[in-house]
């Protein structure tokens, strides 16, 4: 079954799929990677955004990407609120936020799941747009437009976030807060406000990536559970808080998954990506592009 063409195909699809994984992981790369918030409800927020996009698309015929942009400010506010709640209940009280933080976000994720079921029912949903269901032909190869959209959005988001974190004052402050809160406090900045802002941005990104989620594949209310492993896998493999690292790690994951799916036993695909994660954790606990030594 092995052929060079298939391998090439798998790599191309893998890169694009990887970009999609990167896009849905970028927010987590900020909230968990930079802010150390064990945000296991990140995929639940993502699915929520996808349903919001579905709602706008279904009832007002708004293009999913536009809808994603429309809900972004809403999700930003939602993020500000969520962090405030997390901060008041955990970080403010000091140590041992880890386990309980995780449990807290699991609770939030379940609540979101049920709210979605109550509002939209359990059936899977998808959106219509001109670029859903068509492909781009290059010679013998055909690439679905959906994935090209995912690729472009992921690239744009990575570039924007990297620039934001390195060029703007707030962005630099966010990176500083990840490394040394005390130093920042001495400089007269309020680390809590900065972290809240950063969490807001991490959640705002979900608006547009939620649109990607429902463009790439149909969504159902409990879809978030499959994405918990995948997004954390990407972020940890990348090394905490590196945006470009997230992109590269996600692409590696996407390629590995697609190659196994296409050329070897497809049913082994999930084991491969998580075995890779275990390998990375064992050899380089700080991740491939980690900030910590």
């Amino acid at each position: 079954m092995f052929s060079f063409e298939l391998l090439l195909d798998a790599v191309v699809i893998g890169v694009l799929l990887g970009c999609f994984y990167a896009a849905v992981s970028l927010g987590l790369s900020i909230s968990f990677g930079l802010l150390d918030v064990p945000h296991v409800a990140h995929p639940a927020f993502l699915v929520l955004a996808a349903y919001a996009v579905f709602f706008l698309n279904e009832h007002y015929g708004i293009d999913p990407l536009v809808a994603g942009l429309l809900i972004t400010p809403l999700f930003f506010l939602f993020g500000l609120l969520a962090y405030r709640l997390y901060y008041e209940t955990f970080e403010k009280r000091g140590s041992d936020a880890g386990v309980r933080g995780i449990a807290f976000f699991f609770g939030i994720a379940f609540i979101i799941e049920v709210l979605i079921i109550l509002q939209f029912g359990v059936d899977q949903r998808s959106v219509t747009a001109t670029y859903v269901g068509k492909a781009w032909r290059i010679g013998d190869m055909r690439i679905p437009f959906r994935l090209i959209v995912a690729f472009m959005v992921a690239a744009a988001l990575t570039i924007l976030l990297t620039l934001y974190l390195s060029r703007t004052f707030m962005g630099r402050a966010i990176r500083a807060v990840a490394q040394d809160q005390e130093a920042l406090r001495l400089m007269g900045a309020d680390p809590i406000r900065i972290k809240q802002w950063a969490f807001g941005i991490a959640t705002a990104v979900l608006g547009i990536t939620g649109a990607l989620l429902i463009i790439v594949a149909p969504v159902e209310p409990t879809l978030d559970r499959t994405y918990i492993g995948r997004t954390f896998c990407v972020v940890v493999m990348a090394g905490l808080g590196s945006m470009s690292g997230t992109l590269v790690a996600a692409i590696i994951l996407g390629i590995a998954e697609t190659i196994v799916l296409t050329l070897f036993g497809a049913s082994w695909a999930p084991a491969i990506s998580f075995a890779m994660l275990l390998g990375v954790l064992a050899v380089r606990p700080q991740g491939l592009f980690g900030r910590r030594s």
Binding site: G98, V99, R100, A103, I111, G229, G265, L281, A282
Partner: protein, 319 residues
């Protein structure tokens, strides 16, 4: 301490006798079916807390251990028709081995990284079982129980009693660990691993020990599930629900005392069983979510923590 010890052993004996009497006196089978599930979660929560509570290493892979317990039993039953006790003992051995491997992971990973590694481990193991056709693969496998052995009147009654014995075993182990030098060492390394090591605590050895004990108990708790359901399929056996519920039960009960996870498991387990046969809809999941959020926000040390605080306040009041 000594008086407590007597009370504990008497209590454990009374508990087992009560369970044994129940299997004789109650003819209705439902209490055994529902009770079995609650007992199973008590073992899981107590076992989880040995590592998660004492040592502070959050294991998300409860379902991996549980599922391996199920499939160890399935394998032994299919290959040799092994009796229940052999299935459980073998599952404990497999769990101990898995725990040993997990313990070695703690050498390089701490905190959330350890937790993520356990998620990864779960998926790798589940995928492997899914691809193992001999035990049914993804399609699952149906099993037929052998006839029940004396002195039990029914197989479910026997499973119920066996799981109750596992509960006592788990609690005895957990209580021993908490009150012994092992518990003190684990507590020290949870507070500060480097300081513990420099105070003479063999941290790696203790962590491995905690992982082995915890893993063996979780796997053992999973083994009877094969005969309970008489069916096994990977997605049910490795269900994320086991990991989340166990974590939730331990936190809701409180991990500072060995009794915490018991209280949490009884409370949440009973609630879940009750909801299943009352409200019985997606609201079920909502209750779990709300309980989790409420407890970690309002009672961060769990019910045991709340009790202690109330007791301390009362003492202060008296003085």
């Amino acid at each position: 301490m000594k008086r407590n010890g007597v009370f504990f052993w008497v209590g454990a004996a009374v508990f087992l006798i009560a369970i044994a009497l129940m299997t004789k006196l109650i003819t209705n089978e439902y209490p055994f079916f529902a009770g079995y599930v609650i007992l199973q979660f008590i073992v899981l929560a107590v076992a989880w807390s040995i590592l998660g509570g004492h040592a502070g290493y959050v294991n998300f892979g409860t379902s991996a251990f549980f599922g391996m317990g199920v499939y160890t039993a399935v394998f032994l039953f299919k290959v040799a028709g092994a009796p229940l006790l052999v299935q459980i003992a073998a599952a404990a051995a497999v769990g101990a081995l898995m725990g040993f491997a997990l313990g070695l992971l703690t050498l390089r990973m701490q905190g959330i990284f350890f937790s993520i590694a356990t998620i990864a481990l779960t998926i790798v193991i589940e995928t492997s079982i899914t691809n193992w056709r001999y035990v049914g693969g993804a399609a699952g496998i149906q099993l037929q129980r052998p006839p029940v052995t004396w002195p039990f009147s029914g197989y479910v009654q026997m499973l119920f009693f066996v799981q109750a014995v596992l509960v006592v075993l788990a609690v005895v182990v957990s209580r021993y660990i908490q009150n012994s030098w092992i518990g003190r060492g684990l507590q020290a390394l949870r507070d500060d691993e480097l300081a513990a090591e420099c105070t003479g605590v063999p941290t790696l050895r203790l962590k491995v020990l905690a992982c082995v004990v915890s893993g063996a108990l979780m796997c053992a708790a999973g083994a009877p599930a094969a005969m309970y359901l008489q069916y096994a399929d990977p997605s049910s056996a490795f269900n994320l629900n086991y990991s989340v519920s166990t974590l939730a039960m331990s936190l809701i009960g409180g991990t500072a005392h060995w009794a915490g996870p018991i209280v949490g498991a009884i409370l949440l387990g009973t609630t879940q069983q009750l909801l299943t046969v009352t409200i019985s809809s997606e609201v079920n999941v909502l209750v779990l979510g709300v309980m989790l959020v409420l407890f970690v926000v309002a009672a961060p040390e769990g019910l045991i923590g709340l009790l202690r605080r109330v007791r301390d306040k009362r003492r202060e009041g008296k003085q």
